[in-house]
């Protein structure tokens, strides 16, 4: 493919006609634009399949807007990683493309280097203490968001106590408008916190990979992953709670029988509520559900994914399979001690191979740095993408419900079809109609727009967006681009090869060797977590990417293959913890592999082979 060194520019991409009008959904600064064309064409854009693998609902786009600012500023303005700049975003045909911004002028690099030297070492040294403060701050933010009051309906008349003895001054209508502005500020703020330590955590990891690679030229990244992985992070807590609840249930026959029986989670909860043991067991869920059931059933990035707490069928199906395993005499908990022991053994044995005193000192210090902060990469994920987003979605749905009850929108979730700048208009229209008294109509156009946009997004779902736009760069120093999105020479080559239609004759895929071991078996392609109920024990999971709420799935499968994600992606980490082979970041696994294909994966070499088509 030597002749194809570049991808099309944004304006050269032909969009399907059904997408017409897609641009209206997103604020103008998020679109490729003629006035910025020169700058845009100098950059290499690729579709962000990690955070935006699906067409973007306008309101879900808010997280993307927020991270564009937050991620970038911690690199450019806060910790000042010298040659790196931010990550920019553009929407095209409802999909999001991102790019690592070209390096700054040399004098800026110099200034940043000075600040980096002043700020970063201190932060590393004090990370553990600082994380406690971070967590406290973050939890307060979440509680404040939970406490925002959104009425189900605007009252016909404001209640007495808001008028006498003294008028409150503002009405529930005005409060709704204010609260929406507040929640927008809050979500932006939470994403500021999200990146407080993440850039440094990633940089530390990349540094350790380099250091270990210099000492042991043949060391594999999967081994390095084992050396830095932590087991004691918040991300694993929901799963631990499931194990605990399963054990409690397994110990009480009446509870166990209901949980193992047929019916929905709701029916089971109703049945449990009729017995003393059942009530006690539900009480245990009640005690821990906030925060530990505030786990997205997907990535946390889309409103339609739902969370455990809103889709109790998901945790109930896990509990059911854990009970089954307990009855078979299997152990359900992951052995964190064993994982830590294995980590320590690997580090100790590699360390013993270092012969030079200087190297030993450097290695120890490098390891200390990466271990000090690396756990943040897992900790923040639970608190931001899962816990806080769960609160956010619930709260936004209260606004949606109110709009339906005030006859402005038809369905609660239609609110997600409008972007954050449009919703204040709609709310203002709603409050105006309420304030004007009886008979004043809000605009009908909101419902028409919602209908039209739903269709556009449906069409976008069927479209296969190009993987990248523009000319690949010669070098990259932006840590997220390297680590999270795994943009490497190989990756870009693969995209170049795959710019056309997906080739069905492909029988071998290459990705990151992220968890050692081999597995062969039938593939199960899971695009959304809801499909998890179809998963059969012994299958190899093939998925765009995974996240903490998927963790219990790993007890059922033989191995994991993902489209997206490097060596520290969630799937990679959990696979290593479970001792399952995994290959991550294949780019195209969910497109090429079909459910039922017999596949073989080698987590030591990063190769996935399709042995037999279904």
């Amino acid at each position: 493919m030597a002749e194809k060194k570049q991808f099309p520019f944004a304006e050269e991409v032909a969009l399907p006609p059904e997408l017409e009008g897609w641009e209206e959904m997103y604020p103008p600064q998020r679109l490729f634009s003629e006035d910025r064309a020169e700058w845009e064409k100098r950059h290499f854009w690729y579709q962000d399949k990690i955070h935006a693998s699906d067409p973007m609902y306008p309101l879900d786009d808010i997280f993307q807007e927020a991270w564009q600012i937050a991620l970038s500023q911690f690199t450019t303005r806060v910790f000042c990683i010298p040659p790196a700049q931010g990550v920019a975003q553009r929407m095209l045909g409802c999909y999001m493309y991102i790019c690592a911004v070209e390096p700054p002028p040399p004098e800026v690099i110099g200034k940043k280097a000075e600040l980096f030297g002043k700020r970063v070492p201190y932060t590393f040294e004090n990370y553990l203490k600082q994380f406690e403060v971070w967590l406290e701050r973050f939890q307060k933010l979440g509680r404040d968001m939970e406490n925002l009051n959104i009425p189900e309906k605007l009252p016909e008349f404001v209640p007495d106590d808001e008028v006498v003895p003294m008028p409150k001054g503002i009405t529930p209508g005005a409060e709704v408008m204010e609260n929406f502005n507040t929640i927008i500020s809050m979500i932006f703020k939470s994403w500021q916190y999200h990146f407080q330590y993440l850039n440094l955590a990633y940089l530390a990891y990349l540094m350790f990979v380099d250091t270990a690679g210099k000492l042991f030229p043949g060391i594999k990244e999967s081994t390095i992953g084992k050396m830095v992985a932590g087991a004691e992070v918040s991300m694993f807590r929901p799963e631990e709670e499931l194990c605990r609840l399963s054990r409690l249930a397994a110990a009480k026959n009446s509870v166990k029988d209901i949980l193992k029986g047929s019916g929905s989670a709701e029916e089971k909860m109703n049945a449990l509520n009729k017995t003393e043991d059942g009530k006690a067991w539900l009480g245990e869920i009640e005690k821990i559900k906030d925060p530990w059931f505030f786990v997205s059933c997907g990535s946390g990035w889309y409103h339609h994914e739902g969370s455990w707490i809103t889709k109790m069928d998901v945790p109930f199906s896990y509990i059911e399979s854990y009970i089954q395993r307990l009855e078979n005499g299997d152990k359900i908990e992951r052995n964190f001690d064993e994982i830590s022991e294995e980590r320590e053994r690997i580090v100790k044995e590699y360390r013993a191979l270092i012969k030079s005193e200087d190297d030993l000192k450097s290695f120890d210090d490098a390891y200390k740095v990466v271990r000090s902060i690396y756990r943040y990469a897992e900790d923040h994920l639970f608190w931001v993408e899962h816990w806080l987003h769960t609160i956010w979605f619930a709260k936004i749905r209260q606004f949606g419900k109110l709009l339906v009850n005030q006859n402005v929108l038809k369905k609660t979730d239609d609110i997600f079809l409008f972007n954050r700048f449009e919703i204040p208009m709609i709310l203002e229209d709603m409050v105006t109609a309420w304030a004007l008294g009886e008979g004043a109509p809000p605009r009908k156009m909101w419902q028409e727009k919602a209908e039209k946009r739903a269709k556009i997004l449906e069409a976008a779902e069927k479209w296969n967006p190009v993987p990248a736009l523009g000319i690949p760069p010669e070098e990259i120093s932006e840590p997220f681009t390297l680590m999270l999105w795994g943009v490497t020479t190989d990756k870009v080559d693969e995209w170049l090869k795959g710019t056309g239609v997906v080739d069905e004759s492909v029988t071998e895929l290459k990705g990151f060797a992220s968890s050692a071991g081999k597995a062969e078996g039938p593939a199960r392609v899971l695009k959304v977590l809801g499909d998890v109920v179809k998963l059969q024990p012994g299958e190899i999971m093939v998925t765009p990417s995974t996240n903490p709420s998927w963790a219990p799935v790993f007890t059922k499968i033989k191995g994991a293959v993902t489209d997206i994600g490097g060596l520290t992606s969630h799937a990679a980490i959990v696979s290593r913890e479970y001792g399952l082979p995994s290959v991550t970041g294949t780019g195209v696994a969910t497109t090429i592999i079909k459910t039922g294909d017999i596949i073989r994966l080698d987590g030591s070499t990063g190769v996935v082979t399709i042995v037999k088509r279904a």
């Binding site: 210099k214 030229p217 690949p472 990259i476």
Partner: protein
């Protein structure tokens, strides 16, 4: 009682390096340390000395070399060395071992036969110089019967008079007529495969890897370079096979019972391109190599044989271990320099990653 000149491997160790020759001393050390080494015995340099001095050998060789003039640095004199080697090897190999020595060797061999349970058990007679001269002297495989064993011990001694040994001594200004070495008499492994392990990646000096090469049959196929072996790279810590290159192994070096000779035998097509070792054998060999390295405290160059008749893991034998000669000698220099974690971080932060798109 004259000085001892013959030993069982299980009785000796590295302390007898100068008396037995390195190979024998190391094999003894391995045996004593509990590694799986084929049973056998060693003749020390003392045995060579007795043979040379107590027979007319030394006298005859001295006479010969007094009249021998050739320049070891001159290419045109090579044929002179060739002719001398032939004459001398003829002399040495025609001389009998002193009778008490022969009797003792026969006794040791008989006991070895008892230990292996085979009458006329097969052995290899291998040279063992006090310093390592890989490939200089000769080794004879699949020797059976006391008489042949005695004869081949003399042939190993006589191999100190092969052309390359004489030239090498002449270059170093050493006496030409005398070069005491030890001889290992080692029970043969009925090898389905054999090869070499280095406890370092020879390509880049990465000491966290073990490099393993193996071919079918006895180890000579790999060591001589006549067959391209299967190659493996295994991580010492994770015990994962990082690289596996299965080569087209055209032939094996094997015993032909009809001619009673070791011969090159072409392999059938279906056998050539399949791995000659199982993965669990590779992992086990890696574990053993790590232990050998730890025992001797330096990088090792190990030869192994896998028996075709014994079950795993009893089928794995070590037939040689010596210090690895290239990376082991290099002074280990710092590759990182003395840096703090932050300095390393800064280095990483300021060094962009190159993409090579072509």
């Amino acid at each position: 009682m004259p000085e001892q000149w013959i030993y069982w491997f299980k009785e000796v160790g590295q302390e007898l390096n100068n008396i037995l020759g390195k190979k024998c001393a190391n094999l003894g050390e391995l045996t004593k340390a509990g590694f799986h080494v084929p049973p056998g015995f060693a003749l020390g340099v003392q045995a060579y000395e007795r043979f040379m001095k107590e027979t007319e050998a030394e006298k005859r060789l001295l006479e010969f070399f007094n009249n021998f003039h050739a320049d070891a640095e001159a290419v045109e004199d090579t044929t002179k060395f060739d002719e001398a080697a032939e004459v001398i090897r003829g002399i040495v190999e025609s001389i009998n071992m002193p009778s008490d020595m022969e009797e003792t060797v026969r006794k040791y061999y008989a006991e070895l036969c008892k230990e292996t349970g085979d009458e006329n058990t097969f052995v290899a007679t291998r040279s063992a110089g006090p310093s390592s001269h890989p490939g200089q002297y000769e080794t004879y495989l699949n020797i059976s019967g006391a008489e042949d064993v005695v004869r081949h011990i003399i042939r190993v001694w006589s191999s100190t008079f092969n052309t390359r040994s004489i030239i090498s001594r002449a270059r170093l200004n050493l006496p030409l007529h005398y070069d005491p070495i030890g001889v290992a008499v080692l029970s043969m492994v009925d090898a389905k495969a054999a090869g070499v392990i280095l406890t370092v990646n020879p390509v880049n000096g990465d000491e966290s890897k073990v490099a393993l090469e193996a071919g079918y049959g006895v180890g000579e196929a790999v060591v001589s370079g006549n067959v391209t072996p299967d190659r493996y790279l295994i991580d010492k810590v994770t015990l994962e096979i990082d690289e596996k290159v299965i080569s087209d192994k055209k032939a094996e070096y094997a015993y032909n019972p009809e001619t009673k000779e070791m011969e090159w035998k072409e392999l059938p097509q279906e056998k050539r391109n399949v791995p000659c070792l199982e993965d669990d054998e590779i992992i086990e060999l890696t574990k053993i190599a790590k232990k050998v390295e730890a025992h001797f405290g330096c990088l090792q160059d190990i030869e192994f044989s896998i028996s075709m008749s014994l079950p795993f893991p009893d089928n794995i034998f070590l037939v040689q271990a010596r210090p690895e000669s290239i990376w082991g000698k290099k002074k280990k220099e710092s590759v990182l320099g003395k840096k703090s974690g932050f300095e390393l971080l800064f280095e990483k932060a300021t060094t962009p990653v190159k993409l090579k798109i072509d």
